[in-house]
């Protein structure tokens, strides 16, 4: 028999056979927390996830980390493995910006599926707000811009998103209120989340009356900068049983990536962005054997209000050009038909990539989200976006094993 090239169906079979899922989550305090290093937050988040799962630290044989904006290191994963005292069989630093947290889950699953590790700790933490230097902040502002052909024109990272927002409003005949309503809903959700940084009341009038930073965006359209850590642990149902873990896994049903461009100069049009988002989602849906109709709760990368709208449309959750109106009608509220980012998102809870989105998805599927609990969700979608809507990753999580 001739060899076959592996495809999505094989991934699906492996996920089915191995019943891979998240068995522990941890989230440190989020906000302005001076006096704790990046590695302190990584440690604290890891401890919380290990304890939540009911694991012994020595059971962890895989370590996946990301990067730090404060303490830069070439080998982030092994630097942290050394620090926490884990000698991992598998180690990896995922560094794809905001697509990182979502892809950590997929990377852990791939490591487990290929026999490299059985219990994988995925962790990210940083003292971004308290620890970043002024040169570090400038580096962050210019990070997404081409150093030779974009940044010298005074383009900033918020400015890059503003360029996309302006084009989006032009094509969808939208208005600033469409963007602003995403921020208003995220704030309402953050007010229900104990561990959220920005909880002050925020109204449409507050946003419409605020100074523009980069038209059409105000500071309320931009995510916050925060200190904190978050972690989750990925393993198989069989291993969880063998170790006598406390928690039923929240199962990984599907995963996918999609790429549009790195620099906006390379972005032909909005179709290219929608295409990358769709590709990422389609691969995840195909692996899971489902469509967006099966999703009960959605977590999208809200580093800026605009990304949420592009992702809702790219994933086909709302028809093209209609996400702004959907947001303005309140449809993204936890009690409405498209409950989105019940943790308050990057706009109001905290900014640690989509780490908190993964954690909140697990809490929702466990039924442990307290006042924010959506009624009986079975499937959650989590989407991450790195760069200026450039690099996308999607996972689907379920409270039942993939069948």
């Amino acid at each position: 028999m001739s060899a076959q090239i592996p495809n999505i169906e094989d991934t699906r079979e492996l996920l089915k056979k191995n019943q891979i899922g998240i068995v522990g989550v941890g989230e440190t305090e989020q906000g302005k927390i001076p006096g704790k290093s990046s590695f302190h937050f990584l440690s604290e988040a890891s401890k919380l996830a290990i304890e939540d799962a009911g694991l012994n630290k020595s059971d962890v044989d895989g370590v996946i980390t990301a990067f730090s904006l404060v303490e830069e290191t070439f080998m982030h994963c092994t630097t942290f493995a050394d620090y926490i005292g884990i000698n991992p069989k598998y180690f990896e630093s995922v560094a794809i910006g905001g697509a990182t947290a979502v892809w950590m889950t997929a990377a852990a699953a791939m490591a487990i599926n290929s026999g490299q590790a059985e219990v994988v700790l995925c962790v990210r933490g940083d003292n971004t707000l308290s620890g970043i230097s002024s040169t570090g902040m400038i580096a962050l502002i210019r990070e997404m811009c081409h150093g030779e052909f974009e940044y010298p024109f005074g383009l900033t990272t918020p400015g890059g998103y503003a360029l996309m927002a302006q084009r989006y409003l032009h094509e969808s005949q939208g208005k600033r209120e469409h963007l602003a309503s995403v921020a208003v809903t995220m704030r309402q959700h953050a007010q229900m989340k104990e561990n959220a940084m920005n909880k002050d009341d925020l109204t449409m009038d507050d946003i419409m009356g605020a100074r523009l930073l980069a038209s059409p965006l105000t500071k309320f359209d931009c995510s916050i900068i925060s200190d904190g850590g978050a972690a989750f642990i990925v393993t198989t149902a069989a291993k969880a049983k063998e170790l006598g873990l406390k928690r039923d896994p929240i199962y990984l049903h599907g995963m996918g990536q999609g790429f549009s461009h790195q620099y906006l100069t390379s972005c032909e049009d909005l179709d290219q962005i929608y295409g990358a988002i769709q590709k990422s989602g389609d691969k995840a849906f195909k692996t899971a054997g489902m469509s967006n109709q099966n999703v009960d709760i959605t977590f999208l990368y809200d580093c800026f209000t605009i990304t949420t709208l592009l992702e809702l449309e790219g994933l086909g959750i709302v028809p093209r050009g209609q996400a702004g109106a959907a947001a303005l009608e309140g449809r993204l509220h936890k009690d409405a038909d498209i409950p989105l980012n019940t943790n308050g998102g990057l706009l109001s809870q905290a900014h640690l990539g989509a780490m908190h989105h993964v954690v909140e998805a697990v809490l929702q599927l466990r039924g442990e989200a307290g006042d924010r609990q959506v009624k009986d969700p079975n499937v959650a979608l989590v989407h991450g976006n790195g760069g200026i809507v450039s690099a996308h990753s999607t996972i689907l999580l379920g409270n039942e094993p993939l069948s």
Partner: protein, 141 residues
Amino acid sequence: MSEEKIEYAKPLPDFRPETKPFWEGTKQHKLLLPKCKDTGKVFFYPRAISPFPGSVNMDFDWVESTGKGKVWTYSVHYMGPTKAYKGETYVVAMVELEDGVKMMSNIVDCDPESVTIGMEVEVVFEDATEEVTFAKFKPVQ
């Protein structure tokens, strides 16, 4: 009184050697675009290898752009990335050139708040330092 030129305080390009013809061009107030000898198509931003599907060509002609285009999208920046922008309101725009490529630049010589998507613009050159001249755009009168 000193007649020395005021030092340019805003960010300058992080040059890569392979883009030299572009910056040599702007110094002479010419907007030159790299053209892939394999596909015959122009591209932007300049780089060492053709970005077109299937091509690994590293040999280019540098062709002069008409310098005319339209604003594809823009954002009025009320806050810049460094102190040198303090108090300044400026327009960052993606300009779609007639040649078929997009360029990030500034729209100058107009009220920043008068810029619109689809506005017709043409290139103007701004000498920033002895080494660097920027290709910027102004509305076509």
